[in-house]
Symmetry: C2
Amino acid sequence: MATLEFFWDPGSPYSYLASTQIEGLVARTGVEVVWRPVLVGVIMKAAGTHPNIESPAKGAYMMQDLALCARRYGVPLRRPDPFPTSPVIAERLALAAPPALQPALARGIMRAHWGEGRDIAQPEVLRAVVETLGLDSAAVFARTQDPEIKNTLRANTDEAVARGAFGAPTFFLGAQMFWGCDRLPHIEEILRGELVAE
Amino acid sequence: MATLEFFWDPGSPYSYLASTQIEGLVARTGVEVVWRPVLVGVIMKAAGTHPNIESPAKGAYMMQDLALCARRYGVPLRRPDPFPTSPVIAERLALAAPPALQPALARGIMRAHWGEGRDIAQPEVLRAVVETLGLDSAAVFARTQDPEIKNTLRANTDEAVARGAFGAPTFFLGAQMFWGCDRLPHIEEILRGELVAE
């Protein structure tokens, strides 16, 4: 069975859009997806790339493109306010949950941020997402302070940089990297044997 | 009948990839395509965006992604040497040809550069493309010095910036802008009435 690594950051709207498409991809292909949170700001700084909103023209287009992509997928989209916000606690939470629930928590965090426009730096926003999954939020929040959790987030980020990432979402099928939600069709075609990977 | 404006620069490999898909789009949707060369370097400077190759990680990925996209489309891809090269004479040539042949000349220029890896700053490379279309290359080359041709290239570029472009390829359906070869499916779905435009 093939494994797809999905490096995501909740501050990245295209990570959110990708997160809404993963269950369908799994259902159609049987691929196993490993959800790995990263700090995309650290990755971009290391790789020498720039946030879309740094260019007013590109930032304006991004909001229009996101709206079109969300309509195309049939998923909600609402620009967060404030934006950007700190993703660190949200990402640590996704790592602090029991492994079987981490993908659902990741999806819930990104949906709260980009589907509902909520500020995921606010503990009460995160607590609601955690509790939707039936988890003890106090226990999961307490784990966000574990050095192991902090180290995993940093190690994921460093590994992504070392493997050539420069933004998010970034996917790996084995050694082959893919950047952006719009490469999910390429990944699916490779998994189906319709497109030859590198 | 809908009209699609296609702002292209032969130095942009995703403009090349898009150029290989336009005839199919026209056949399937009946859209009228207006091919408009622009100087993408001027657009990016005005918009504050950055060439992919400025980041070693992004530049390396771009070459891998281009190869995969070309394989997916079934079109040739060969990294030009030298790259980048000056696109100015090539773009003026595309404007200097008779209007009915300009799309074919644009496609030929981009195929020579990105499909065959040729240096489109070299007159003999361009002459071969022009002559493939049965044109008098001396006459078309002479027209590249006309102030009207030079002005049109600059005016296309300025207009693209004024309308919000920040890279290439850039498409417009009326006022709605689309960036990148990977938005052609969105454009097609809008033309078919399957996706609601902004």
